[in-house]
């Protein structure tokens, strides 16, 4: 049985980073306060001061800090992205998570010892693609898109020297990773380049006689009755009228939760489990990190006797988007 996977937790702020470390994260990933990361929301993310304090805090506790540099630069703003690579290297960050091959080439050339991870936004689902990034840019780890079944994850791992990280918990979307155009269609701003799916300035929530309505740049996405659970204001999770019926036409809001697959993920050789949610608060980070730490510790102590504790599931369900959780594509009997 390979070693239990590393736990990689999100941080949108310094208190979230400290909370993740205090509750047992092995690695924390974060972004800068600009479009170089895919959670570019007002008030979120790290400036120089909080970055340096965060890296020092993590390293003091023997943990790692990763930079999410997972959006795609354009010709007119290329220097902002290369500057972000330099900032990560200067701050002593342990790795950068990249999607753009040009940026990978820059990082490899300029900072030869800096560890590179291939972002989920790179959308590499085959060992051929992952090995290409490994051969050309020396990536050490790849984060798999959330579209592969467990059997496919195992096949990828068997055919690559690159460490594989998978998503273990958090909000799901349509998962056209790095290539989704839905939010851009409604707002004119690309999440893959500007770093925000449903940017706040385009979102409006309004209480109306028919219920709470949410709009993205004027497009009605959903209307919630008084006691219905709300979701994030994204097009893929909206309810639309199709042929006279109104329903979640693309996808129902739901959260990925792979706790029960943990022994299998470890057995096939997954090196790290990623928790989604840099946009969430320190309270979420505490709740989720705590549960996953307990599960990974139990797995390490007793791999054969691993059982999902019902309290873990209820803790995770409390903070989930949507009314349900799912194993996503990992559990897919059809091929």
């Amino acid at each position: 049985m390979p070693a239990a996977p590393e736990l990689v937790c999100p941080a949108g702020s310094l208190p979230a980073l400290k909370t993740a470390i205090d509750h047992g994260a092995d690695c924390v990933y974060l972004g800068f306060k600009d479009a170089t990361n895919a959670r570019n929301f007002s008030g979120l993310n790290f400036d120089e001061k909080s970055l340096h304090e965060g890296v020092a805090y993590a390293h003091r506790h023997g943990r790692k800090v990763l930079l999410a540099l997972n959006t795609y630069p354009q010709t007119d703003n290329w220097p902002s992205w290369t500057r972000a690579v330099d900032r990560a290297a200067e701050a002593g960050m342990d790795a950068i998570i990249l999607a753009d091959p040009g940026l990978m080439a820059y990082a490899r050339r300029t900072h030869p010892t800096l560890r590179l991870h291939l972002s989920v936004q790179g959308s590499a689902t085959t060992h051929e693609a992952i090995n290409f990034y490994h051969e050309h840019f020396g990536i050490s780890r790849a984060v798999l898109p959330r579209v592969l079944s467990l059997a496919q994850v195992a096949q990828v791992i068997a055919q690559t020297p690159v460490e594989i990280e998978v998503f273990g918990f958090g909000g799901l979307c349509v998962m056209v990773e790095g290539r989704c155009a839905l939010s851009a269609y409604a707002t004119g701003e690309s999440p893959n380049c500007q770093g925000a799916c449903s940017p706040g300035k385009h979102v409006r929530w309004e209480q109306t006689p028919k219920g709470m309505e949410t709009r993205l740049n004027g497009v009605l996405i959903d209307r919630f009755e008084a006691h219905e659970r709300a979701g994030y204001p994204t097009l893929c999770k909206g309810r639309f009228e199709v042929n006279g019926a109104s329903y979640y036409a693309i996808e129902e809001p739901t959260s990925l939760n792979t706790l029960e697959l943990l022994p299998e993920l470890a057995r096939v050789g997954v090196k790290a489990i990623k928790i989604e949610g840099r946009q969430r608060s320190p309270a979420y980070v505490a709740q989720v990190t705590q549960v996953w730490r307990a599960a990974l510790d139990q797995l390490a102590r007793n791999p054969e006797g691993f059982r999902v504790d019902a309290r873990w599931m209820s803790e995770l369900n409390k903070v989930s988007e949507g009314q349900s959780h799912t194993l996503g594509a990992y559990h897919r009997p059809w091929k």
Binding site: P15, G200, Q207, H227
Partner: protein, 146 residues
């Protein structure tokens, strides 16, 4: 021990709106001003300057209107439509302040409602999440250092 679930008796929500809103608003802005520039960086909140903000405490029947001016937060007597309105119960505001509850979780459960300019709402939420409470142990302005 986590905060228990509670709602103020319905009487509060009934009489609250008929009581003066200025005293609780003064208490709120007083607290915010103590935090401003110490644990709440002013430059992060620039986008709030001149915006009409409203905090509704649903079970207390309170609607606290305030704004951020050059010299800090101050009550607002304007009863027009606010730029940002945040609504929750006393218990949930306390749980948020204590970092026992995640705002998105309360939002999914419809216990935290944000209306108006969503970008301002995200700025407020994320700036509060980024507050490092340990910095509050620094001496208050005007007090001699210990």
């Amino acid at each position: 021990m986590p905060l228990p679930a509670f709602t103020l008796p319905p009487l509060f929500a009934r009489i609250g709106p008929h009581l003066p809103q200025l005293p609780p608003t003064l208490a709120l802005v007083g607290g915010l001003n103590l935090a401003l520039d110490r644990i709440l960086p002013r430059d992060h909140l620039d986008a709030l300057t001149g915006k009409k903000l409203m905090l509704r405490v649903l079970d207390a029947g309170m609607s606290l209107r305030f704004t951020l001016g050059e010299r800090g937060f101050r009550p607002l007597l304007d009863t027009g439509r606010p730029d940002l309105c945040i609504s929750a119960t006393t218990r949930d505001y306390l749980a948020l302040a204590l970092r026992e509850e995640d705002p998105d979780t309360l939002f999914f459960n419809r216990r935290l409602v944000m209306e108006g300019d969503t970008d301002l709402g995200l700025l407020v939420k994320n700036t509060l999440d980024a507050v490092d409470w340990s910095a509050l142990r620094l001496p208050l302005p005007g007090l001699a250092p210990r």
